[in-house]
């Protein structure tokens, strides 16, 4: 009641609109908005602060999906998985279906995450403490195993680009010895390769080169709104038609969100990989406009919000960058996570949770309401859209960290990404590996050191063993499915 009463309800609404406006621009995100808003809210009371920051956390995710679906530009790293099938749907004139599905999956996924969060508050402590370096390592490996699924058409090329992505992640200082790796004495490369300019180049700029080179008249291939097929309600219905997949993806998002430091990108890619695998024989459309390829990462991406609040509220351990900033805000206003937050200030904890929940639903409803104007963008002449998107991508690359080097990096990866697309080399494994590389290397080092010191026995940790099994299953299942189906075809021919 505190959240929806007047005038408190104005804060989540304002926060949602601000977060949506910010995250529609590539390179900017809800994170930037939260950082900028901190000094403006110093003198506020805790209640309105939690209302508005909860909305910032919840409001930014979905908007990044809109640009991913319409223009192949992921608003954040975690929206890249939505792009894999969202943009092909747009190219087929079904942008409304993709946006409708994304909106429904986002809203319902966040509902799932919030429900789990509320139910698990009494159990949080024991759950989070079970995860150590070995579990983080296997989670990173599981995320990397999705390369085997995502590299449809060529597993070998996918593994090569995945390895190149990992090597890119190692650019900069070695975490143990501080030795410079692959930096060529460049000040720019000392800080490592940032994922955002790589994403903007390898997807957005590469796609613009492709559109210009092929001379495609419009993104959707249609010239009138009436020619666009699909509808918002078709997209929303897809969530209920694939309800089992939605629930599983939300579980993946919530569980991954609970684990500190993992982030939304792992959740969305693991959910996407799971969706492709679980489709079995019916998985040929993945990567070419399968609505399930939009549903799964979107559900996971928003369910993760609820999950990531768990370690933050319970222990002050941030689930990701957004919750890290949130903890700063709580600290400024004298709110301490842990016993205080879950005891004396439990009301305020729920204010934060429900504000985030309302914001997720608001963004989805606004997105659905705006779907017709947004769909019109897909029938605009590409020659008019191309320079605008190039400009937005370049601006996004620069604004991210204020370095001109990021613009050059985006251009280089734009050209590389175009030729990778042209010659059938999968791009997704490269970016997945780039994002997971630091987590993988740090966890590997710590785990090996603990193992050397006999402080950890890898093979007696149940969660680790479960994750190892999942990894082997992820890698082997696609090949086994293909061999099984081919042997069945041969038997039926005989």
């Amino acid at each position: 009641m505190l959240v929806i009463s007047w005038p408190n309800i104005l804060y989540p609404i304002a926060g949602t609109l601000l977060a949506m406006m910010f995250s529609i621009l590539p390179g900017l995100s809800g994170l930037t908005l939260m950082a900028l808003a901190i000094p403006f809210t110093y003198a506020w009371e805790p209640l309105p602060v939690l209302l508005i920051f909860g909305a910032f956390v919840g409001g930014a995710t979905f908007t990044g999906s809109i640009t991913a679906i319409l223009f192949n530009i992921p608003g954040r790293n975690s929206n890249a998985a939505t792009m894999l099938d969202g943009y092909p749907l747009t190219q087929q004139g079904q942008s409304k279906t993709a946006i409708g599905c994304s909106a429904a999956a986002s809203a319902l996924g966040s509902t799932f995450g919030v429900i789990v969060l509320v139910l698990m508050i009494p159990l949080i402590r024991d759950a989070v403490l079970l995860f150590g370096p070995a579990e983080f390592l296997m989670l990173a490996v599981w995320g990397l195993m999705t390369i085997g699924v995502l590299a449809r058409g060529s597993v070998i090329k996918g593994l090569i680009t995945g390895c190149i992505g990992l090597l890119l992640a190692f650019v900069g200082f070695d975490p143990r010895t501080a030795e410079l790796r692959y930096a060529f004495d460049s000040y720019y490369l000392r800080d490592g390769v940032s994922p955002v300019p790589v994403f903007l180049g390898i997807f957005a700029l590469a796609e613009m080169i492709h559109l210009a080179a092929t001379g495609r008249h419009t993104i959707s291939g249609k010239t009138r709104v009436g020619e666009l097929s699909g509808s918002v309600w078709q997209g929303c219905r897809a969530v209920f038609d694939n309800f089992g997949l939605f629930v599983r993806s939300s579980v993946i998002g919530t569980l991954v969100g609970m684990i500190p430091g993992i982030g939304a990108t792992v959740a969305s890619f693991v959910a996407y990989g799971h969706a492709a695998q679980s489709a079995g024989k019916d998985s040929s459309k993945f990567g070419r406009g399968d609505i399930r390829g939009v549903l799964a990462p979107e559900a996971a991406n928003d369910a993760k919000d609820g999950g990531s609040l768990m370690p933050s509220l319970a222990f002050g351990i941030p689930g990701g960058a957004g919750t890290a900033l949130l903890l700063v805000v709580l600290d400024i206003h004298g709110l301490a996570p842990g016993q205080q937050m879950l005891g004396d200030d439990l009301t305020l904890a729920f204010v934060l949770i429900w504000s985030m929940f309302i914001s997720n639903w608001l963004t989805s409803l606004i997105g659905v309401a705006a779907v017709n104007p947004l769909a019109r963008l897909t029938i605009m002449r590409t020659q008019f859209l191309i320079p605008i998107i190039v400009v937005l991508a370049i601006l996004g690359a620069y604004i991210y960290e204020g370095r001109f080097g990021d613009v050059i990096l985006a251009f280089v990866f734009g050209v590389v990404g175009y030729y990778m697309r042209f010659y059938g080399w999968p791009r997704i494994p490269l970016v997945v590996a780039l994002v997971l590389g630091p987590l993988f290397e740090n966890s590997l080092h710590i785990t090996l050191k603990l193992h050397q010191l006999d402080r950890i026995d890898f093979w007696t940790r149940p969660i680790t063993l479960v994750l190892v099994t999942l990894c082997i299953f992820s890698l082997a299942l696609p090949s086994l499915q293909v061999l099984w189906s081919r042997s069945r075809v041969r038997k039926s021919d005989v």
Binding site: C163, I164, E179, A212, I394, F404, G424, H445
Partner: protein
């Protein structure tokens, strides 16, 4: 150059990239190269194998069962790619598209974001897009204005100034 030759050339480029990364990795200290070596050696083996597959189509067909796309679908991908490569204007359009994005980068480097981006927008809309003067100029001005208001005034973000404007202001002052 035929499509198969171009495809193989790309694989050769990837091979040299991975080989260069291998050489650089070997130059690192023992601890620093521990994990990168475990990644670059399999990458080198895999890219050599891929090069063999590209050079020997018979070998590629033997490994088709492990590929995850049905063979008829791969034919469609190959034929559409070949068709676009046979179109003589396609490589020219490709080069031109890359040139225009490079131009944007150069304009930003020389003139800064506030001048370079709107100028690029104007030039692209006027020349390859063949829009009218009104649309080209108005779009560039609106975009430049929004850039200034949102980032410079609103967010107080420091935007890349370029090489030429600071020299110009110095000359004037």
């Amino acid at each position: 150059m035929s499509s198969a030759a171009r495809k193989t050339t790309f694989t050769v480029l990837v091979f040299f990239l991975v080989l260069a990364l291998f050489v650089l990795t070997m130059q690192l200290g023992h601890v620093a190269r521990l994990v990168p070596l475990k990644v670059v050696i399999p990458a080198l083996v895999l890219v050599l194998f891929q090069l063999l597959l590209d050079l020997m189509p018979g070998l590629a067909r033997r490994f088709a069962p492990f590929e995850q796309v049905d063979l008829p679908a791969r034919k469609d991908i190959r034929s559409s790619r070949a068709a676009s490569l046979d179109n003589r204007s396609f490589p020219q359009k490709e080069t031109l598209a890359i040139f225009w994005i490079l131009l944007a980068v150069v304009l930003i480097y020389l003139l800064g974001l506030l001048i370079g981006l709107p100028l690029y927008l104007f030039l692209y809309l006027k020349i390859p897009a063949r829009e009218s003067w009104r649309i080209s100029v108005s779009t560039s001005i609106v975009f430049g204005g929004l850039l200034f208001i949102v980032f410079r005034l609103g967010l107080d973000t420091s935007l890349h100034q370029g090489l030429v404007p600071p020299l110009f202001w110095e000359l004037i002052s």
